[in-house]
C-alpha cells in the first residue's frame, strides 16, 4: 500500500510517522526514568577522557539518540579537545 502511495506521489503513511515519533519519544522517556544514572554517566565519561586529553568541559555534550543505521539507540558525545596532554 505504501508503494501505491509512492506512485501517486503521496506523503509518507501516517502509520510510519506515528512509529517514528513513538520511537523518538520513547528514547527520551526511557532515559528520563534514570536522570541520576545519566548524570553519573556524563561525569564518568568526562573524568575518563580528562585523564588523557584536555577538554572543554563547558562545551561537553552527551545525549542518547536514535541511530539511523542501528536498531538500538546510540550515545552521541561532543567532546571539544583543547590540548593533547603528552605523558611520559
Amino acid at each position: 500500500m505504501e508503494n501505491l502511495s509512492l506512485i501517486f506521489g503521496k506523503k509518507k503513511s501516517s502509520k510510519s510517522v506515528a512509529k517514528d515519533r513513538l520511537k523518538l519519544v520513547l528514547v527520551s522517556d526511557r532515559i528520563n526514568c534514570n536522570d541520576q544514572m545519566f548524570i553519573n554517566l556524563k561525569n564518568d565519561v568526562l573524568k575518563t577522557i580528562s585523564n588523557y586529553l584536555e577538554i572543554d568541559e563547558n562545551a561537553f555534550e552527551i545525549e542518547i539518540i536514535n541511530s539511523e543505521k542501528e536498531e538500538s539507540p546510540i550515545i552521541n558525545a561532543q567532546v571539544p579537545i583543547k590540548n593533547v596532554k603528552f605523558r611520559a
Partner: protein, 262 residues
C-alpha cells in the same frame, strides 16, 4: 494453582474494564472460579460493564476497613455461578486501600478462587501502585496509538520495577482496514517498540459497545469478533495453545485490488 492477574494500561479509555469483564466472564464460562476486583476506587465502573450495578451492598473499602466479610461484599454474577465481583468504592479516594491491605485481600481471595482479575485504575500514581501490589502477573492493554503505546511502555517499566516482570500485551481496537491502507500501526510495529510477549489482538468491534450498553460482556455474544478474541485470550491465560485469529476476514474485491498494487 490460583493466580492474581492485574489488567493495566497507564492511559485511560483503552479498554481495561472491558477486558477485565470479558476475561473474567470467559474464564468462568470455561469452568474456573473467578473473582473480579475493581481497584479503580472513586471511579467505579466494572459493575456497570458487568450489569451488576443494582446489586452492590458493600465494596472493597468496606472489606479492608472490616465493616463486612469478603463473602458479604462479593456479588455473584447473574449469568455464571463461577463469577463474582468485588466492587470499588465510589465515594472514597485512591488511598483508601493500601498495598499491604491489597496483598492481604488478594491472598484471601486466592484461597477461594482459581483466578483473581484486578481492574487497575488509569495513571501511574498511588492508585496504580496499590492495585498492582497483590498481583502475581500483569497484562498490559494498549491501542495502536502513539499516546497509548507510550503509556504502555512506561507501565511496563514500572511493573518490572515492582517485581511484575514479563507482563503480557493485549492490543485492543485494531482496525485492519486502516492497517491495510497504512494509517494504523500493526501488532508487529508495536511489539518491535515495546519488546513484550503478545497475549492477544482484539479487533475494533461495535458489538463491544452494544453489549456494554446492555451490561453483557461481549464474550457471551457468539457472533462478536471482539468476543472471540477475548475468548481466545482467556484460553491462553488458562494455558491453552490457541492460534491468533485472522483479523482480515472481511476482505472484499477492492481490498484485493489494493493488495495487488502494493
Amino acid at each position: 494453582m490460583s493466580e492474581v492477574i492485574v489488567i493495566t494500561s497507564g492511559k485511560g479509555g483503552v479498554g481495561k474494564t472491558t477486558a477485565s469483564a470479558n476475561i473474567g466472564m470467559s474464564l468462568a464460562t470455561k469452568g474456573y472460579t473467578v473473582a473480579l476486583l475493581d481497584a479503580d476506587i472513586g471511579l467505579r465502573n466494572l459493575d456497570v460493564v458487568m450489569g451488576l450495578e443494582n446489586r452492590i451492598v458493600y465494596d472493597i473499602v468496606d472489606v479492608v476497613d472490616g465493616n463486612c466479610r469478603i463473602k458479604q461484599a462479593l456479588i455473584k454474577d447473574k449469568r455464571n455461578p463461577n463469577l463474582f465481583l468485588l466492587p470499588a468504592a465510589q465515594t472514597k479516594d485512591k488511598e483508601a486501600v493500601l498495598p499491604g491491605q491489597m496483598q492481604k485481600l488478594c491472598s484471601s481471595l486466592k484461597e477461594d478462587f482459581d483466578y483473581v482479575i484486578i481492574d487497575c485504575p488509569a495513571g501511574i500514581e498511588r492508585g496504580f501502585k496499590n492495585a498492582i501490589s497483590g498481583a502475581d502477573k500483569a497484562i498490559v492493554i494498549t491501542t495502536p496509538e502513539v499516546s497509548a503505546v507510550r503509556d504502555a511502555d512506561r507501565i511496563i517499566g514500572l511493573l518490572e520495577a515492582n517485581n511484575l516482570s514479563n507482563p503480557k500485551l493485549i492490543l485492543n481496537r485494531i482496525r485492519m482496514d486502516m492497517v491495510n491502507r497504512g494509517d494504523m500501526m500493526t501488532l508487529e510495529d508495536i511489539t518491535e517498540i515495546l519488546a513484550i510477549d503478545v497475549l492477544g489482538v482484539v479487533p475494533d468491534d461495535e458489538s463491544v459497545i452494544i453489549s456494554t450498553n446492555r451490561g453483557e460482556p461481549a464474550v457471551l455474544d457468539i457472533k462478536s469478533r471482539a468476543g472471540q478474541a477475548f475468548r481466545d485470550i482467556s484460553a491462553r491465560i488458562s494455558g491453552e495453545d490457541v492460534p491468533f485469529m485472522d483479523l482480515n476476514t472481511k476482505e472484499n474485491l477492492f481490498d484485493k485490488l489494493k493488495k495487488a498494487f502494493s
